[in-house]
């Protein structure tokens, strides 16, 4: 942890590529464009810094032609139990920034959540958040960071 003066300089001021005002009061919902081969599907996903992976509903895989069970299976644990999901390589476009990522699609059609988690999305981004104002700032990690 770095405090002003403690390391001989101030905490850096960061630059961001995009500023986005989110509306939903039950979470931070971002519109996602998921691409696989030449096909795309769009949906809202929740930013979840506590989620290890990006996990999406099975339907989104099916709409772009992914055979869900052809991916590597993984058991995803949650506070209420768990479920099986399959890993696939896709492109994720969020707020104008596209990344290639390994994401997970739930085996069960009934799993109703779409989550942008740490591995695959958060770990490629620089994210700023002022929840009081419902304001989110986003850059790709490789963008110039400091002013």
């Amino acid at each position: 942890m770095r405090f002003p003066g403690a390391a001989g300089r101030l905490v850096p001021k960061l630059n961001f590529r995009v500023e986005y005002q989110y509306k939903d009061e039950r979470g931070i919902l971002l519109p996602v464009a998921l691409r696989y081969a030449d096909r795309e599907t769009d949906f809202f996903a929740r930013v979840d810094t506590g989620a290890s992976f990006c996990i999406f509903q099975r339907l989104h895989a099916e709409t772009v032609g992914i055979v869900v069970e052809s991916g590597v299976p993984t058991r995803i644990s949650t506070v209420t139990g768990g479920f099986v999901a399959y890993a696939h390589q896709v492109a994720l476009g969020v707020l104008g920034i596209e990344v290639e990522a390994t994401v997970y699609f739930a085996e069960d059609h009934a799993m109703p959540r779409d989550v942008l988690g740490q591995t695959g999305w958060l770990d490629r981004m620089r994210l700023g958040l002022v929840d009081h104002d419902r304001q989110l700032y986003l850059s790709h990690y490789d963008d110039a960071a400091e002013e």
């Binding site: 464009a33 989620a51 290890s52 709409t63 949650t78 920034i97 290639e100 109703p112």
Partner: protein, 127 residues
Amino acid sequence: MDVTLQPEIERMVLDRVQSGEYSSTSDLVNTAVKNLLEDEHAAMLMPESGKPDLKSLELAKDAPANLEWLHRNRAAYMGEWVALHKGRLIAHGTNGLDVFHAAQSQGINPPLMHHIVPEDAVSWGGW
């Protein structure tokens, strides 16, 4: 090859040469052009990661209208998949794939797909 520099750039070049950073104007210009072309080449070879994505930017611009539609109509379509486009309902039903294809057949490709489920009405505890 004759190259005419803009006066401001010419001044910067001469300053650098006079400071001894470069041995001559040719040295500086050659170095600068080489770096520029190499950077462009490197950018072309870069992986897709982080590239600008105009379609998802457009999707973000439509998000408030789509969220507004969901906020107003959630109860009426509970349990269904809805296909939205710019705040307009394109198709709906309990079979998501059918809904997606119905929207495509109306020329919306892709629609924004959303599954309206009762859990959305309660607080989310995270994973």
